[in-house]
Amino acid sequence: QGKFTLLRDTRTDGSFLVHHFLSFYLRAGCKVCFVALLQSFSHYSIVAQKLGVNLAAAKEQGQLVFLEGLKSCLNLLFGEEEEQPGQPSPLQFLSGSRGELRALFDFVRASLAPGAQRSWRGPVLLVDDLSLLLSLGAAPVAVLDFIHYCRACVCCQLQGNVVVLVHSSEDSEDEENELVVNSLCHHSDLILWAEGLATGFCKDVHGQIKIIKRLSLWQAAEQDQVQIYQYKIQDRNVTFFAPGLSAAVL
């Protein structure tokens, strides 16, 4: 409860973690607000089906609030008059000149507010992916502010969890992105870092994942606990194993 998890990928695609968390929280019965900026609803729906979760049904029952960034952006730019006057689009920052993400935060807060309907277990905010907001013109400080407000609202007030995906790389030239990622790393309770193998491309091992539990945040003398596993992604599943113990080698 009340935890901030950072999903980070370097030179590989960490979106399998997003799919995992989405189906995990939906199966656990939590109310999920999913800010999906990168892909369309049908993409997530098809993968979720393979993992055993029906996104359309969850959406209808009110368990899942899905913000499809691509569709929302098109409605904002190409749509005629606003259907609901007084309720700005969550991606309002695209058309304004100030890169503030206030409208997006209001959307998140409204969707996770405890409602009068059937009560679900703790609220969860899932974002895929945060680095995209920088590409769309938001300032790094605005992105950090947005995350800060979300944490205050979801983690502290509502005792829910926040899971965010970012892309990063050690030799990246994108300084704004690195700034946001480093700042988020310092504030996260748990970091899942998916990386490519240091030795290059391999067909049987798709990468390695570092799980960092930030115990140092909560207890003064504690060190962060780091675990490393390697993984292989299959059609319906991801298998994890200790480094060097891939099925292809044994």
Binding site: L74, S135, G200
Partner: protein, 342 residues
Amino acid sequence: LVFTEEDKYGLYSNLLFKYFLAEGIVCGHDLFVASAKEHPDNILKELPAPLLDDTYRKELGDEAAVVNSEDFQDSMKIAWRYQNLPKMEASPRSCTKFGHYYDVSKKMPPELCQSVKWHSFYLHEEQCSEPKMKAWNMNSGYARLLQSIQRIISQEGFDGSDPQKKQRNVLRIGIQSLGSVLWGDDVCCSETPEDPHSLTKFLYVLRGLLRKSLSACIITVPSHLIQNKAIMERVTNLSDMVVGLESFIGSERETNPLYKDYHGLVHVHQIPRLNSLICDVSDTKDLAFRLKRKLFTIERLHLPPDLSDTVSRASKQDLAGSAKLLSSGCGAVAVGKKHLDF
């Protein structure tokens, strides 16, 4: 969204662009061609002619037959461990036909061009009439292009908005040399462009349009001119497939004996991972292309055997360096810094 990084002089990427459009014509898809450099009418006149099935297959069949009969009997004596590996196929077999083949030396007949409906967007001929664009916060050339694409998509019903229309067709969009100075964007000129987000915003909206409709798009970008590498990273994250073409013209590799059969390298930086947890990764990443008199082929890179007596250190280092470049592709799967994979 196929994002192609142009080679230095734009020769080969132009060819790839024309192939995409020509395939659209042969399959009966509608076309949308946008450019700020060349008038789309001229582009369409220059498309390669499709090869008729019988003549090409016969040629390919002859070649394959010759190759097969030669090494059918040989069993390896020294490198016998390799005997069990499947035969390397440099060029696609004729039995697995996907798409069509084209003859680069001939132009597509105009009747075939007229058989599909095509739309064009030539930046310098478009009028600036939309007042709404101010709210978009984007380079006006890009904004106009997006509006034009969206208009065609909704008018022609590619987004399924017209339930009356029974025959659903695909729209192939080709955008040439995006990001170059001709579009009014200075991202290729300076390291700190005036509006660094224009290109990425454009790609995001384009991605939304493509996801919403039955269309596919190829974009060529002169990425060697873009000095701000952060933009290239963001652009890679926004595209489904990223392919880079590196031609050997004018570089030291042209005279390198390792590359004598080829005209350039193909770098696959990213492949699409849609609707699934995994993506379709081929087992080799070393691809090179060559332009023969009639055909443009992409093949696996064969390094010729190292038979010369005076092999200099320089070429060995170059080989190691290029091997590192070759294997550091494919952002969807792991990528490493050291060149230990072979």
